[in-house]
């Protein structure tokens, strides 16, 4: 098993005819993801990587039964794309787009929640259930089916750790990049819940970074509810306060959101926090044997 996506996922790609959208559709199809529809207004009737293109999400859903959407449209159109997919009844929406204004995300977040849908991202690499479905932009080949659930705010750092896990013989149930923005649809806690409840996930890796307090909230949740072995890493121990480190959400402000605080919180929840990404598999194996 796995969480959120698997071989039953019927994926719809918003912005499928764009540069990013068409490239990654090709990649996802090659990985074996069941991409059933694409949407670009005005391009109905075209095909991308063999996937039929529709003008509207509602129409695409009606004709293909899509049950997940991934968004590659430019930032200024991303909120509308999220509304469109959620309104069309799609329960899982993954927004890859970087640079969505925060003020736009406030009502988007509330709307998605009210409708009972789930949003991953924005500004995220997506998620993958190795061997079943890649719904994102990560390099598929580094992943291996297995029992480790991974959740991360980052992109390439995730690949780094996935690669290390795979090389250490630790395959993944699902790897989820939740995104690096101040407001994201799913938090660490949201995904940890799913991993804790997924019978096939036996251990969990969590990769955090500076900014906000999602890691601290995760620590509180882990203390109470997570019984599976865990290991973690927090990026940005050397980041200065008040400076945005690439991700819109990676900033230490008013003295809060430091890596030290987050590491402390996770450790006090019993999670081993690696000093370097390469250490993560080592710590995880220790936790699994404990």
């Amino acid at each position: 098993m796995s969480i959120l996506v698997d071989s039953s996922t019927r994926l719809l790609v918003q912005g499928i005819t764009g540069r990013e959208g068409s490239f990654h559709t090709q990649q996802m199809v090659e990985y074996g993801t069941n991409v059933v529809a694409g949407v670009t207004p005005g391009k109905q009737g075209e095909q991308v990587a063999g996937v039929p293109v529709f003008d509207t999400v509602a129409d695409a859903v009606a004709k293909t039964g899509a049950n997940a959407a991934i968004i590659y449209v430019p930032a200024r159109f991303a909120p509308d794309a999220i509304y469109e997919s959620v309104a069309a009844g799609i329960p899982l929406v993954v927004c890859i787009t970087e640079g969505v204004p925060v003020v736009d995300m406030v009502p988007v977040y509330a709307y998605v929640k009210e409708k009972g849908a789930r949003l991953i991202g924005p500004n995220c690499p997506g998620l993958i259930t190795p061997g079943q479905a890649k719904v994102g932009i990560m390099p598929g080949f580094i992943h291996q089916p297995g029992k480790v659930g991974l959740v991360s705010r980052s992109g390439t750092l995730t690949y780094e750790v996935v690669d290390a896990l795979t090389k250490a013989g630790l395959g993944q149930s699902t790897a989820v990049g939740i995104g690096g923005d101040p407001i994201i649809g799913s938090s660490f806690v949201d995904i940890l819940k799913l991993f804790q409840d997924d019978p096939e996930t036996e251990a969990i890796v969590m990769l955090g970074e500076i900014g906000g307090s999602d890691e601290e909230e995760a620590a509180t949740f882990i203390k109470k509810h997570v019984t599976k072995p865990m290991a973690g890493f927090i990026a940005g121990q050397t980041a200065p306060p008040g400076k945005r480190m690439g991700h819109a959400g990676a900033i230490i402000s008013g003295g809060s959101g430091t890596a030290a605080d987050k590491i402390k919180a996770l450790e006090s929840a019993g999670v081993g926090v690696a000093r370097s990404p390469s250490q993560v598999p080592v710590l995880l194996k220790e936790a699994m044997q404990a």
Binding site: F23, H24, Q27, A75, R76, G99, V100, P101, V102, V103, D104, V106, P107, Y109, A110, Y111, I137, M138, P139, F141, I142, S152, S154, G155, T156, L157, Y159, E160, D163, G180, P182, I183, L207, E209, I210, G212, S213, D214, F233, A235, G236, Q237, T238, A239, P240, K243, R244, M245, G246, H247, A248, G249, A250, G254, G255, A259, R275, S276, P277, S278
Partner: protein, 377 residues
Amino acid sequence: MDVHEYQAAEILARHGVPVNPGQVATSPDEAGAIARQFGGTVAIKAQVHTGGRGKAGGIKLAHSPDEAKAAAAQILGMDIRGHVVNKVLVVKGAEIAKEIYLGVVLDRPARQILVMASAEGGVEIEQVAKESPEKIIQRRADPMLGFLPYQAREIAFALGLDSKLVNGFASIALKLYETYVKEDATLVEINPLIITKSGEWLALDSKMSFDDNALFRHAQTEEMRDIAEENPTELDARHSGISFVKLDGDIGCIVNGAGLAMATMDAVKLYGGEPANFLDVGGGAKADQVAKAFTLVTADPNVRAILINIFGGITRGDEVAEGIKEAMERVKLDVPLVVRLSGTNAEEGKQILADAGISATDTMDEAAEQVVKQAHA
């Protein structure tokens, strides 16, 4: 993006918030002339993108045009936390009966916008938050409906304001929230918001930051950008689509991806070095980007070695290696370079680099260890 106090006041005034009249001066004479025009006491305030101006001597009262001129002469050119003062704001003195703090920020855990106020105006809100959090009154705006009048009144009453002052305060709080949303701010703050002795509300000092991701729809804000306040390398980087932050160490870092870039800095530190910068080259890592990154990193004279850390995902390692090779032909480096290449086609990439006489490691740890050694060799 940050703006100066005088620009924040301009924006507030546009949204109907009463602000203290003021004008900007770039010379002592100009400051004196403004003081003469206003008459009476004025305050001369350094316009720099940093806090702590008061303590640093960047704010002075002047009771005459001559005093104003002298004060401006002292403040202009001053260095406050690394920021050189090029402009001062001359504002009319106000007779303060009461000082309030009023701010709007994003409440990240709640994914909502938060309006907060404190009767302890004039001091830093972080300090109040630490020492007496109960003195901060806060209300979250509804994500759909926004900040509502009754919430503004609740804050006013909780601050213990006289009932005659409640509607005036509520109106300003509603306008401040509107400013935050309409202008795509990440912070708007009036500190202090005062009641004058004649019973009027006045924003005496204000501060604003904006969401860089939303500047595309705020040309007016973008025009307020003060290039003098920005690190020229960071500015240059942004124009090339590279995220760059200058740090104090001596090991230049070039990485793809923000999270990995931070992790790389951490690894440098772990092996005894100090990163000279944060740098995320973004997706491609083509020759142009790498060459640009070299230029950005070597602009810092402190840099004694460079670490390139690329995890090839969609981008293939061989492409990255070609990019590095080509960039090195264009930008002559006079500091040692350590490359770490992993992921897609890493082996092919390493071969290309080896052929070009550039050694590459397999792991981040190895690379970090090596680059620290080479920097301090």
